[in-house]
């Protein structure tokens, strides 16, 4: 990740925040508003899928899958954020030890 990328991200994030603050409720287009609020579930789930099943352009199941299952269960059981992460890590580390 280059410094240029970080700066682009920083400037754009700030502009998103500032523009919303200054525009207020002058933009009422429900389609636009709804679309933006649907980006997080779409992207989060694709990130979850890619970061669990993809390795360098190939799809497959490996120890990370154990981590995903545990993360889902922990989140469903309302375990706090760090607990979800740590239990997923432990599950994956163990699965890797057991199955390689």
């Amino acid at each position: 990740m280059s410094w240029a990328a970080i700066l682009v991200l920083a400037v754009c994030s700030y502009l998103f925040k500032l523009s919303g603050l200054l525009i207020g409720n002058r933009i009422q287009n429900p389609l636009l508003l709804r679309s933006v609020s649907l980006i997080p579930p779409a992207l989060f789930c694709s990130l979850i899928a890619l970061q669990t099943f993809e390795t360098s352009g190939q799809l497959g199941i490996d120890a990370r899958f154990a981590g995903l299952v545990v993360a889902l269960i922990a989140t469903w059981r309302k375990v706090p954020f760090v607990g979800v992460i740590v239990s997923a890590m432990i599950a994956t580390a163990l699965a890797r030890l057991a199955f390689g």
């Binding site: 998103f16 508003l33 649907l38 789930c45």
Partner: protein
């Protein structure tokens, strides 16, 4: 204007929330370090971008070998949400005047939630600043600590750190899939990404997954205006 008990509650709440967010910041620091960012870049992200989901997405894509375009593209798509928060806060913070220019940096999920939970405008403005400053402080301290811990870790895969990336999004996902359109966006987004992997260049799957908005919007229209 409410004072006394009401005021001190949201000040204390801001600090408690800040501590919790600090832990998330530590996680980010560790993941950023695993992704090869180093203290300067990781801290720069937390100081200058200050948007959790975008930061996690960026280092996640970098760590799995994705291109800078997809890392930044995915992070930008997620950052767009901040404009919605800005719109929600706009009326409440109108009295802050020129302070909104620097203050805009603090417009994120938690500051918005804390601010709109207050009964009157003065408390709303104060809650925004307290939460913003508390979160900014803890988020950055946490990031720095996380990078230092991450640097001491050795082979991250032995510790299952590669699973921490998707796990962080599982943990963040909840509120976004509480309704039908969100669930559709999630399922279709994951499906698009997976299908795209063998047939598109690196980095494309994550960006293409945003197209899941289309079926999700159709579901929203069918479910009704409440969505």
């Amino acid at each position: 204007m409410t004072a006394g008990a009401g005021t001190s509650t949201h000040r204390r709440d801001s600090v408690v929330l800040g501590a919790a967010v600090g832990l998330v910041g530590v996680t980010f620091g560790v993941l950023a370090s695993t992704a090869g960012l180093g203290l300067a870049k990781a801290l720069a992200m937390s100081l200058l971008v200050f948007t959790g989901a975008s930061q996690f997405a960026a280092v996640g894509v970098v760590s799995s070998g994705g291109s800078a375009i997809s890392a930044v593209g995915g992070a930008l798509l997620l950052a767009a949400r901040n404009s919605l928060y800005g719109m929600r806060l706009s009326e409440r913070l109108a009295s802050a005047g020129w302070k909104r220019i620097p203050g805009a940096h603090f417009v994120i999920d938690e500051t918005t939630a804390m601010s709109i939970a207050q009964d009157d405008e003065e408390a709303a403005v104060e809650a925004f600043w307290w939460t913003g400053i508390a979160l900014f402080t803890f988020w950055n301290l946490g990031t720095a600590m996380g990078v230092l811990v991450g640097g001491a870790i050795g082979d991250p895969n032995v510790w299952g750190l590669d699973a921490a990336f998707p796990a962080s999004f599982v943990a963040l996902l909840g509120p976004h899939v509480a309704n039908a359109p969100g669930r559709v966006a999630g399922l279709v987004g994951a499906a698009i990404a997976v299908v795209a992997v063998p047939v598109t260049p690196a980095g494309a799957p994550i960006l293409l997954s945003a197209l899941a908005i289309v079926p999700a919007l159709l579901v929203a229209r069918r479910v009704g205006p409440a969505q």
